[in-house]
Assembly symmetry: C2
Homo-oligomer: 197 residues x 2
Amino acid sequence: MKELTDKQKKVLQFINDFHADNAMMPTVREIAANFKLSIGSVQQHLKALQLKGCLIKRGSLSRGIDLPNRQNFSPVAVLGTVHAGTFLEQIEDANDYVYINTNVTRNRKCFALKVKGDSMEPSGIVEGDTIVVSQGERVYNGDIVVALVDGESAVKMFYRENDRIFLKSSNPKYPAITSDNIEIVGKLIYLVREYKG
Amino acid sequence: MKELTDKQKKVLQFINDFHADNAMMPTVREIAANFKLSIGSVQQHLKALQLKGCLIKRGSLSRGIDLPNRQNFSPVAVLGTVHAGTFLEQIEDANDYVYINTNVTRNRKCFALKVKGDSMEPSGIVEGDTIVVSQGERVYNGDIVVALVDGESAVKMFYRENDRIFLKSSNPKYPAITSDNIEIVGKLIYLVREYKG
DNA sequence: AATTATACTATACATTTGTATTAAAGTCAA
DNA sequence: TTGACTTTAATACAAATGTATAGTATAATT
């Protein structure tokens, strides 16, 4: 990316802001109106930004500007609650979503869960946290997973020793779990926490 | 919001997905093409969705669909590292950003920091976490804050007792801090953690 | 039977929007 | 000065897009 002139920076900034506010890219004329410029002048700026790699045109679609470093977010459904240590409560109508950058969710099959309990507290997972779980991932010793043990689900650290799976809480007051009937649902890939009040 | 028909749900879902993928709303004809429908049919669906409050039209702009529950994200700059317990390292060029829903950042002045150290581990804040701090907030006992103590910065729990401020680590191996020269920089409002590998 | 809501097609028209062309003036470095 | 680049304007045209109209059909409700 070459250096941008002041005016080019301002135009790029405006495009960015406009998109953040309106969820759509501005038209040539909307940019022109903002800076009190002519259409041709804006065309020139867009052309320069394109040459410098800071802007992409999508054919001749309307509002067809795109930004190379655009951030994309996709909704991940919060499907239930994990009483970290024991059960998973399924939520009936999944109207709750967390929005995760597609850089993270790319090519993955994900869902999210609300955490209850303190069994993973020393790993930094506390009550109220929302965890994002990716299904069908390869898991290694020490990974944090959501697993089904005899039909009940929990968030635990995964360990395989001599072909036997152990699920350990990071909080020492809970014992490690092992069973012939353990199914790994998915692996933790993301966590968000909102502090309210 | 009234009940949506199956077809209306599908159309709404497509609009949502299209926007997530392309950062712009689809045109009437793009929707029509996706479902192999006529323009008029799509117009009908959009009209119904609008009546049911699930969709907003912005005048007669191109791609002028908007969604009432559209999620907006704004960049929050990651300004440095907090060696949770001691220093704050300032990062020179802030090219790192976290994107936070504007529902959270609304009307706030925020910045973000990378966490190092384990002094807040029992509160679920561990090394590598990115915390979002809001400046100029009113803080109450028990809130987690970023504070300057004699010029050095740290993430701690805030307590005021008899007009004296105490900053406590949740990890008991660190002592509480008190000083005549404590400045509260901001209050923790959000935390994100990405599990890599 | 009449009404209402849904679902769909086909076509025409008006507006919005991107693009091309031409022209002029300013800046900066070789 | 020349030349390259930037900045700006005015205008015209083509493509994309929203909107309106007219008509058919089905299902559920009154």
